[in-house]
């Protein structure tokens, strides 16, 4: 850059010559107009509006002019650069609009193309249904208790008031575990989740509010409605002043939580050695709501037109069970229930055949995702 020179005549600096400035301006405007897309416009911007563009270089020369000439030259170059800037902006807008209109459309893809490169798996609906039911009770402040699947006979039977030769003991077709010498081992595959009642009472502080979901085993051959391995969810409350009314409330919470509101439940007197009084629990058929009873034209296959569906057993914990678990039945009382998870799944999701639940066919399980 040259030093100030008062005698310098601006007209004699070629880049600042009015014709030259006009030419640079015209050239830039023409290039802008000619840019066909945003990429070309970017090139044009570099050539005509960047720090190294002719107009920018011309602008630098202004500083070397004598003060009198600066204003005139500045006005001339500044005007040209402003025009170029505006033209760029306008063209940018036009081209962006055009891109939005045309180019993005041309770039469209088929969004229905699959992209299942990494397949997803699923959790078994018996698992998720059991969790769902357990969580209903966890939400009421219950905890989840657990126990072994190979269980001592004492826990599975004796402590639950199944007397040694009582017919009730043979009602549950039990898998017996052989001792090392082929003799008795005192062990069975648990036939119900009820031994967890005794374990919970032995291992927890009172009061006890627990549910115990888990596998259970009986010597039933697999068919459409039976499986030698199945799942129950046990509920147990032992506290002071516990009544059947709370048991009913717990059962109603299950029915409402799984099958929705407005379904009636009923207790039928029944018998279990570990509860007294005992009851079977039915819920109103969620399909026909009783409308199929006695109406042969509207037979209901869900409840066999009974109007009610059996969902489990329950009752007041037999004080003898409390005694065997070291709890004073004079002070504490309790209730318990057992619900069938397979039945819950069958009813809640219309599963027709037990085989589907045990065979592990991925088509069955996939339908439920990982959190049904």
């Amino acid at each position: 850059m040259s030093a100030p020179n008062n005698s310098f005549d601006p007209v004699e600096v070629t880049p600042l010559h009015p014709d030259e400035v006009a030419r640079m301006r015209e050239e830039a405007l023409a290039a802008i107009e000619a840019a066909a897309d945003l990429a070309e416009l970017k090139e044009v911007r570099l050539a005509h509006a960047s720090d190294r563009s002719p107009l920018a270089l011309a602008n630098r020369e202004i500083g070397a002019l004598p003060p009198a000439a600066k204003a005139d030259a500045g006005k001339r170059v500044g005007g040209a650069r402003r025009d170029v800037g505006q033209a760029l902006k306008a063209r940018q807008a036009v081209l962006e609009a055009e891109r939005d209109e045309r180019v993005l459309i041309e770039e469209r893809v088929d969004v229905t193309l699959p992209w299942d490169r990494a397949p997803r798996g699923s959790r078994h609906p018996l698992t998720t249904v059991a969790e769902r039911v357990a969580d209903l009770f966890v939400g009421m402040g219950f905890e989840i208790a657990e126990g072994p699947e190979v269980e001592a006979e004492w826990f599975n039977f004796d402590a639950l008031n199944f007397q040694p030769d009582h017919p009730a003991r043979t009602m549950q077709d039990t898998f017996f575990v052989e001792g090392p010498d082929g003799g008795p081992s005192g062990l069975v595959m648990r036939t119900h989740t009820s031994p967890v009642q005794v374990r919970a009472l032995l291992s927890r502080e009172l009061p006890v509010y627990v549910v115990a979901p888990g596998k259970t085993f009986r010597t039933d051959e697999l068919d459409a409605t039976h499986s030698p391995v199945f799942h129950q969810l046990e509920g147990l409350v032992v506290d002071r002043g516990v009544t059947l009314a709370h048991l009913r409330g717990a059962i109603d919470a299950y029915v409402e939580g799984v099958f929705g509101e407005g379904l009636r439940t009923r207790f039928r007197a029944s018998y279990f050695p570990f509860t007294e009084p005992s009851a079977e629990v039915d819920m109103e058929c969620f399909v026909c709501r009783g409308a199929s009873v006695g109406d042969s034209d509207a037979a209901c296959r869900t409840c066999s037109s009974e109007g009610w569906i059996e969902i489990g057993g329950c009752g007041v914990v037999n004080p003898r069970v409390l005694t065997a678990a070291g709890v004073d039945p004079e002070v504490y009382s309790g209730w318990a229930f057992g619900l069938g998870i397979e039945r819950t799944l069958m009813f809640a999701h219309g599963v027709r055949d037990m085989h589907d639940m045990v065979e592990g066919d991925i088509r069955f399980t996939s339908a439920f995702g990982s959190e049904n």
Partner: protein, 828 residues
């Protein structure tokens, strides 16, 4: 227990409008579960009338003898002319009173009667057999009615009882009393608030002398009645009404003497035995059998008796297994005229054991093991001999044997409010007394207390809660309010949450959950290629497996997974990944058998320890198998086959859920490929703990289970992974820039990458943020038996921007440790 409604109504005045279905509903709610209501004869329609056979013409020339009959049916056929009917039966004569279904009638089973030509004659109707009428099973001929049974031409449907509603009740083990009409009637009477006419209440005259001599052991039998009937006509037929009722109750009519014992059993719940008295030798003794004594029972089986069996013995030895089944030689026969009826009250548990021991479940044993009224024996035996007299022309012996060693029952004392506090309902004053009286208790009120002595037919009532149940079931469970319980628990345990999260993580990475049976067989263990001394061969054995090929309980999850995989592949799926979370059962060496502890108190810690020692270890494991493509082929390009590394990564993913790092090490462990198997470890308090294995399966295992080639599997013990969990301390997140350094190291080809990256991490110091392998190269450039491994090291400081020199120094330190431990050389 099958209960014909008309029979029940003999003892209870149920309102006439009560239907069988309604009664069934109320009985069911009160604890007598009516499984079905059979409307017998519901599809029957007339005309079915009495007829008299006027003439019989034998037709010949057919394959079997055929009769052409003219039968007087009065004006039932509209004309009053004899009805002409062709009949194949031969057990009737001219003048017999028979049952005729006329054209237009429909018999049970949708059998429509019409007029048709058969055997060359027109046959307009049918002379009916008992089977055709639905009365009972009898294919020997038509029903010939006794003279005076009905008037010719009159409707026979009603008088014959062809329509009957029968309740089929599934009696629970505690309600033995309901295995009788009498017991069901008592509950029905209470439910409807009407009188019960107790069929056992009739007074019995005192004996006029000693009956057949007998002795009892009161521990085995505390009441014993023997009553004789002499001059019984063995040819006397069982009357139609009795046969019909027996049939409706599911009991096959046999002969009058046997039918009478069954009828009284159904009526009163007391099993009876009828001997041919002429076959008995001397006094009868109720005693324990002697080991090795033999008896051939009615079913023609020679049985070896057990010292626990109760037998009835005469001078010749055992003649009955008491309460279970009679002996063959003394049994009443079709020629017996001297009948001795036995009604005993045998100890329930002995009968239960004997029934199971001899695999003889009879109507009798079913009742005894559930509890029979200890006071009904005399009434039952008397009822039986009186029926033999009435129907079989016998004479009842007025001298009889009645040994009574029963002990009166003690009263049970409860607060009058007890039932209400169990139910959570405020029952009105007097409710408890009302219902306890209704079921037969003797009830006495004493201030706030009620003293109830249970009746002899309710041995199940022993505790205060048994009394509460009787009150609540009649008050109705439907009247119990519903109150939601509210507790204050602490939610799921960490372990329970982990289990769910592991399942979700595996499902998200492509595995489908299966729930396999835990039953395995020797073949499965062999298929796993386990050595003879492999721990996993030591499995618990079931005494009564469903399938003799699979008597063992799984010690590993893998066989079940393999079978599920093969099943899916067999159903046309080539890319399958499965997982299971569940227990395996690992018996402890020399485990004792589990003790049966007392139940009249809680167990001691020592007693519980004895049970624990007997139980197998039951760790929770996660297993997974994967075959085919781990990533699918598609329009984007080819798929990626699942390899050993996918299985190991699945294990790492599982551990990652718990926030635990796994260390992998090459191992040789069945059923995996010996060169492609990793043992997986965690660190617990600085110690290495094996948690499982993963990798590609051994080709022999693949073949044994019919799996796709190169299938891969993993099995880890979740319980052990959990033990490595430590509380998470939140990292401080530095916002200073990262300094990245790549290093390529040349090592001997046998050096595991895991060891190199571990050495780099150890050497890099605390500036290291991460170390990650990005390339493995073998080839000419690094030389035979060598490999080049390239890592990216990321460094970052918490408090400053690292200089290039600092990052390089850290990298050099890392490489130095790697060089020292693995002989790694920086690739030039």
């Amino acid at each position: 227990m099958r209960v014909p409604l008309s029979w029940l109504r003999e003892y209870v005045d149920l309102p006439a409008e009560v239907t069988a279905r309604e009664l069934a509903g109320r009985l069911t709610l009160a604890g007598l579960e009516v499984e079905t209501v059979d409307a017998l004869g519901a599809d029957l329609s007339g005309p079915v009338v009495y007829g008299r056979v006027l003439s019989i013409e034998e037709l010949t020339g057919f394959k079997k003898p055929i009769r052409f009959c003219r039968v007087d049916v009065g004006r039932a056929n509209g004309t009053g002319e004899p009805q002409e009917i062709v009949c194949g039966a031969r057990n009737f004569s001219e003048g017999d009173l028979v049952v005729v279904s006329l054209p237009g009638a429909e018999l049970p089973g949708g059998f429509r009667i019409g007029a048709r030509k058969t055997y060359g004659r027109m046959s307009a109707g049918m002379i009916c057999s008992a089977t055709e009428l639905g009365l009972w099973e009898d294919h020997s001929g038509i029903v010939v009615l006794p003279e005076g049974f009905g008037e010719v031409g009159e409707d026979a449907i009603g008088p014959l009882g062809l329509r009957e509603d029968v309740l089929d009740i599934a009696v629970t083990p505690d309600r033995g009393y309901a295995l009788s009409l009498r017991g069901v009637a008592r509950d029905a009477a209470a439910l409807y608030g009407v009188e019960l006419r107790d069929p056992a209440a009739a007074a019995v005259a005192e004996p006029t002398g000693e009956g057949h001599p007998a002795e009892i052991d009161p521990a085995l039998c505390d009441r014993y009645v023997l009553r004789g009937a002499t001059g019984f006509d063995p040819d006397a037929p069982t009357p139609l009404w009795m046969k019909r009722r027996l049939h409706q109750c599911g009991v096959r009519p046999v002969s009058l003497a046997v039918d009478v014992t069954n009828y009284v059993m159904l009526e009163l719940g007391q099993p009876l035995h009828a001997w041919d008295r002429a076959q008995l030798r001397g006094a009868l003794r109720v005693r324990a059998a002697q080991e090795g004594e033999k008896l051939e029972t009615l079913d023609h089986v020679q049985r070896s008796l057990d010292a626990d069996d109760i037998v009835i013995a005469d001078d010749s030895g055992p003649v009955n297994i008491a309460g279970v089944m009679g002996g063959l030689t003394t049994e009443i026969s079709l020629t017996s005229t001297e009948v001795l009826i036995e009604a005993g009250h045998f100890e329930a548990m002995h009968i239960a054991r004997a029934s199971r021991r001899h695999q003889l479940s009879s109507e009798s044993s079913r009742r005894f093991e559930r509890g029979v009224d200890s006071a009904v024996q005399l009434a039952a035996a008397t009822r039986a001999v009186e029926l033999l007299a009435e129907l079989g022309g016998a004479t009842v012996e007025t001298a009889y044997t009645h040994l009574d060693r029963t002990v009166p029952r003690e009263p049970i004392t409860v607060r009058a409010s007890h039932a209400g506090s169990v139910a959570g309902v405020d029952y009105p004053e007097g409710t408890t007394e009302k219902w306890l009286s209704a079921v037969g208790c003797e009830v006495e009120r004493d201030g706030d207390l009620v003293r109830a002595t249970p009746p002899t037919w309710r041995p199940d009532i022993t505790d205060p809660n048994d009394l509460a149940e009787e009150v609540i079931r009649f008050e109705g469970y439907e009247n119990i309010p519903s109150i939601r319980p509210l507790a204050s628990g602490r939610g799921l345990t960490a372990s329970q949450r982990l289990r769910r999260a592991v399942g979700r993580a595996l499902a998200d990475t492509g595995f489908h959950e299966v729930l396999n049976y835990p039953f395995v067989g020797q073949r499965d263990l062999d298929g796993l290629q386990l050595e003879a001394d492999d721990d996993r061969r030591r499995a618990l054995r079931l005494a009564n497996p469903l399938n003799d090929e699979e008597p063992l309980l799984r010690t590993t999850l893998l066989p079940g997974l393999f079978k599920a995989l093969a099943r899916n592949v067999g159903r046309g799926f080539t890319d399958v990944a499965l997982y299971e979370t569940g227990l395996v059962y690992r018996p402890r060496p020399d485990a004792p058998s589990a003790p049966i502890l007392p139940v009249d108190r809680g167990p001691t810690a020592e007693e519980l320890a004895r049970i624990d020692a007997a139980l197998p270890e039951q760790p929770r494991r996660v297993g997974a198998v994967i075959a085919g493509n781990a990533e699918r082929a598609g329009w984007w390009g080819p798929g990626r086959e699942a390899v050993w590394a996918d299985a190991i990564q699945a294990a790492r993913d599982i551990a990652r859920v718990a926030g635990v790092e796994l260390e992998a090490e090459a191992d040789q462990h069945a059923p995996w490929h010996p060169g492609r198997c990793a043992a997986l470890y965690v660190r617990v308090d600085g110690e290495r703990l094996l948690v499982g294995h993963a990798g590609e399966l051994h080709p022999r295992t693949v073949k044994a289970f019919g799996l796709p080639e190169r299938a891969c599997a993993v099995e880890v013990e979740l319980d052990r992974i959990e033990r490595a969990r430590t509380p998470v301390v939140a990292p401080e997140v530095s916002t200073y820039p990262v300094a990245t350094q790549d290093v390529a190291l040349v090592v001997d080809a046998s050096v595991p990458v895991g060891r190199i990256s571990e050495a780099l991490a150890d050497g890099a110091g605390e500036l290291l943020e991460s170390v990650r392998l990005f390339d493995v190269y073998t080839g000419e450039q690094v030389g035979e038996g060598r490999k080049s491994v390239a890592f990216t090291l990321r460094f970052r400081a918490a408090d400053r921007t690292l200089t290039a020199e600092e990052a390089s120094a850290a990298r050099d330190a890392a490489v130095a440790v790697a060089a020292e431990r693995t002989g790694a050389v920086l690739r030039g």
